[in-house]
């Protein structure tokens, strides 16, 4: 079947089997391999992308459901030269180790801050319950999100 969607601002029309997942479109058809797959029960969150501005697990969305949608992946939020404030904060606070959960974690964290600008550490922990990290113990992820939130909402800092 034919699916048309916009990914990181670029329109694509693809011919895919109906049982294709959004994450398969991203990774295998568009070669945007920053979006990862870490489980098969829709829990780990490594595949988190934004679909029309909201965080979703791209392993639990059919490509067909994304017809006409705007998709943003980790590759679309900043560049190596001009990082998104959340990316910058993850680096500054050592919020990643192996890096595998990181793209999904960053995408979920951006959505969290956009929905709930006034977060405390507990709320960040609860807000990230859809994302598993096995390396960091989450401590520094929480610090990074706390640091990024005011920068994203214009409350200070650079970026």
């Amino acid at each position: 079947m034919k699916v048309s969607l916009s990914v990181n601002g670029t329109s694509h029309t693809l011919e895919v089997p109906a049982n294709t997942l959004l994450v398969e479109v991203l990774r295998e058809h568009l070669r945007l391999t920053g979006t990862h797959v870490g489980c098969d029960t829709s829990q780990c969150g490594a595949c988190t992308v934004h679909l029309n501005g909201r965080a979703v697990k791209s392993c639990t969305v059919l490509a067909a459901q994304a017809e006409g949608a705007e998709v943003t992946t980790i590759e679309g939020i900043g560049s190596a030269e001009r990082l998104h404030p959340m990316q910058e904060a993850f680096r500054e606070h050592h919020a990643l180790q192996c890096g595998f959960c990181t793209p999904g974690m960053i995408m979920a964290a951006i959505d969290l801050v956009q929905r709930q600008p006034n977060l405390d550490r507990r709320a960040v922990r609860e807000g990230l319950e859809g994302n598993l990290c096995r390396c960091t113990g989450y401590h520094n992820i929480v610090s990074a999100v706390m640091a990024a939130a005011p920068r994203m909402t214009g409350g200070g800092g650079h970026g």
């Binding site: 391999t33 980790i74 990082l83 180790q97 192996c98 890096g99 959960c101 096995r134 989450y138």
Partner: protein, 786 residues
């Protein structure tokens, strides 16, 4: 000549440098195995046993081969026909009676029998993953089921799983003086006894294992991209034992690897089969595990049943420790499965204490479960759990303060080097210092106030200690080989200084989250007095790095980093000769510091980059000295390193539901010198999360038929952000005495110390002797009801 920006006056070691590798990870530009593709590649799906123990009567592949896009269905018999060997266990354990352990054959793909649910016995190759899955379901395999055993104690009196392994015992291993220990226990003023279970864990690196095999028929070169913590060991085993290809025709590349925690040390069936299949069908073959496969077929961790006794004299001094453990090894001996419950466990039972008599006996037992091998901490969390649960229980039985009972038994700073009764010689430490700092951080004096305040909220608050020690920086090769290791445990490092003075470092260590690209750059930059951005670290490719033993056992910096120091020092010596010649001085009069070669007592000097350039453009150059500016070194440690520390947990228990909340956690660790405190704290946080997970959330459970009950994230509870508190982490420092950096290793400490601390806190809150991990709400609720 371009001169790299020098950090001439700042030491790179000891600074929290931001990680060089992060930029690619945070922008989604990492390259993990599943991100790689080869033209013409096929997708593999494995045929896995649905039974815990069965005979394979027949495999009918006709219908599967009819699925569009299916290229081949291969089985264990095909692999045997091609002459591939078994997967070896790399550590031979000697039994109590002096005989070798009994190692059952472990074919990569099962042929006639299967011995655990998920064991691979074949694979389907197809143009797409969907087609391979469809076909795998259509393979008609007839099994004759047989009775399975999953409990390690029960296995010792069950039907033999493997022919010739009597009572399913792979080994009966002992360490220490049994007679002296028995005598000391018999005359002890008090004996504390505990029966403990160390729960089975499933590692769950978030990147599932994956492999991509490519064979060039023209050159015969085999390339395996795979999720490995030690690509050279993978190559050695695949070449020497499995005999896929000779080593010089085999290249193993472990690109970005998404966490390992031990589970990616081992040589598994899947990557073996993928590479072999690629050669057999003449096309690249790719496989990526689904998480459900990871649960079934990654090596699991822990799974001990232990009885332990601690004898104390009238003053509370430990006089003897006796431990018997039945260790579940799973259906086959995994790559290092035999060593974990023996040399990485029994040798650590002295803990931080001057216990004079220790005896340990371990029965390593086969069961119809996934193989069990090293998982973060590997043997040392199990040892710490035994020692620290016993000590805490003894304190309660005797009405002693648990911190003070520990303190009077600790090895004192003046006792080092300290020979334990279980083989190890601790080189240095100051256990009282970390205990003191932890007590201060947790505000121990005011715990009763916190407990009373919690009680007013209907919560039971408990506190628990764990003063752990670990042996890491694996390992002195001679000693390890004497004890049964199949390989040396040194590390290699090579430093190539480019003509412009920038540096490329090649290490046999492998980073899968540890941050070597930064830490190792700091080590080298510090030695050369250059900036860390002028140092590039290359790892994970047997085609680029001479040799290596990889990353596990918190060994990378202590062993791999030391190899780089050795290589750097060789370069500095060579540089001095070049500089002496150029500055018309004696070599003995040239010093190297802050990135410059200086003639002592003169103002003449050359930069590191100028000397490097001269080595590649050798006009004004010493006669007889080879041009070029690169050196390599192998570093073989003289001893293990002994990180140690004190962890203190405070929990609150909801009496109505049994929910345990970890409300505070303090870790004070002595890792020796610290190169990058930011990374070290991160390693501790991660280890703590896994240790807390073991204590409160995680449990790999098989039912009586050998079916895994916790085969997905729906049932196996990996800690999430909201399960954990903020951790409070600090360090004390006694530098390691026998490596040039004075470092000890920090990767596993969190997972080693924390389970005992948390369970001591839980049992303190509950007022019970023991509760098997994990302390799930229903278990706690039942304990509260008595």
């Amino acid at each position: 000549m371009a001169e790299p920006a020098a950090a001439a006056t700042t030491r790179a070691i000891g600074t929290p440098a931001l990680r060089k590798e992060d930029r690619r990870f945070i922008t989604g530009r990492g390259q993990y195995t599943d991100d790689l593709n080869q033209p013409g590649q096929l997708h593999a799906v494995f045929l896995r046993s649905p039974h815990a123990r069965a005979r394979i009567d027949s495999i009918d592949t006709r219908e599967a081969l009819g699925v569009e896009g299916v290229v081949a269905v291969l089985t264990g018999h095909d692999m045997a026909e091609d002459g591939l060997g078994d997967l070896p266990c790399g550590w031979l354990v000697k039994q109590k009676d002096g005989s070798d352990m009994v190692s059952a054959p472990h074919p990569p793909l099962a042929r006639d029998v299967v011995n655990y649910v998920g064991e691979p016995y074949g694979l389907v190759l197809a143009e797409t993953r969907h087609a391979a899955h469809r076909a795998a379901e259509l393979v008609a395999t007839e099994f004759s089921e047989r009775a399975a055993v999953v409990d390690p104690a029960a296995a010792m009196s069950s039907e033999d799983i493997h022919t010739g392994v009597i009572g399913n015992v792979a080994y009966d291993w002992v360490l220490g003086d049994q007679a002296a220990t028995d005598a000391a226990l018999a005359s002890a003023a008090h004996v504390t006894r505990l029966d403990l279970i160390n729960n089975r864990l499933i590692p769950n690196a978030i990147e599932p294992r994956a492999a991509l095999g490519v064979v060039d028929p023209a050159t015969g070169e085999h390339i395996l991209y795979t999720t490995s913590q030690n690509p050279h060991l993978e190559r050695l085993v695949l070449s020497a034992f499995v005999k896929i290809a000779p080593e010089h025709k085999l290249r193993v590349i472990a690109p970005d690897v998404g966490g390992g925690f031990g589970s990616k040390i081992f040589v598994y069936a899947e990557e073996t089969a993928v590479l072999w299949a690629a050669r057999r069908v003449g096309r690249p073959v790719k496989w990526t595990a689904e998480r459900s496969e990871s649960f079934l077929a990654d090596a699991h961790g822990r799974d001990h049943v232990t009885h332990a006794e601690l004898g104390l004299d009238a003053e509370g001094r430990f006089v003897a420790l006796k431990v018997h453990t039945i260790a579940n090894l799973g259906a086959y001996l995994s790559t290092f499965g035999s060593s974990v419950p023996t040399y990485l466990y029994g040798t650590l039972l002295a803990g931080q204490y001057r216990t004079p008599n220790i005896f340990v006996e371990v029965h390593g037992v086969y069961t119809n479960t996934a193989p069990v091998d090293a998982y973060r901490g590997a043997g040392r969390p199990e040892a710490t759990y035994v020692v620290e649960r016993l000590v805490e229980t003894a304190a309660r039985e005797l009405g002693r303060d648990p911190a003070e009972l520990r303190r009077i038994n600790m090895i004192r700073p003046e006792d080092f080097p300290y020979q334990t009764p279980v083989a190890l010689v601790y080189d240095t430490g100051n256990y009282q210092a970390s205990l003191d700092k932890a007590l201060e951080l947790i505000d121990y004096a005011n715990f009763p106030t916190r407990r009373a305040e919690a009680a007013r909220r209907g919560k039971r608050r408990g506190i628990g200690f764990s003063c752990y020690i670990e042996a890491c920086g694996l390992a002195p090769s001679k000693l390890a080989i004497q004890l049964g290791a199949g390989v040396g445990l040194y590390e290699s490092g090579e430093i190539r200084v480019n003509p412009t003075g920038s540096v490329t470092v090649y290490t046999g260590s492998h980073s899968h989250g540890q941050g070597h690209e930064t830490t190792f750059a700091q080590v080298v930059a510090d030695r050369f007095g250059i900036g860390i951005d002028d140092v590039e670290v290359v790892h994970g490719d047997t085609g680029r790095i001479e040799f290596g033993l990889g990353t596990y056992g918190s060994r990378s910096l202590a062993v791999g980093g030391s190899a780089l120091v050795k290589a750097a020092d060789k370069l500095i010596e060579k540089g001095k000769r070049i500089a002496a010649h150029m500055l018309e001085s004696d070599v003995e009069a040239v010093d190297f510091a802050d990135g410059r070669f200086r003639v002592r007592d003169s103002n003449q000097s050359l930069s590191f980059a100028e000397v490097a350039f001269a080595a590649y453009v050798p006009s004004n150059y010493p006669d007889g000295l080879e041009p070029g500016f690169s050196e390599k070194a192998f570093y073989d440690p003289q001893n293990f390193t002994y990180p140690a520390g004190t962890h203190i947990a405070e929990v609150e228990i909801d009496e109505e539901t049994g929910v345990v909340t970890l409300v505070d956690f303090v870790a004070v660790d002595d890792f020796g010198n610290v190169v990058n405190p930011m990374i070290v704290h991160g390693q501790v946080h991660g280890g703590l999360a896994q240790g807390v997970g073991q204590a409160l959330l995680e449990h790999g459970v098989y039912d009586a038929f050998g079916q895994l009950q916790t085969g997905s994230y729906m049932d196996y509870c990996l800690p999430r952000a909201d399960d954990l508190p903020d951790f409070r982490v600090d360090t004390t420092v006694t530098p390691c005495t026998h490596n040039p950096l004075g470092v000890k290793g920090c990767g596993e400490a969190g997972a080693i110390g924390s389970p005992a601390a948390v369970m001591n806190a839980v049992t303190d809150a509950l007022g019970v002797r023991d509760l098997p991990m994990p302390a799930t709400p229903e278990k706690v609720w039942r304990a509260l009801r008595g």
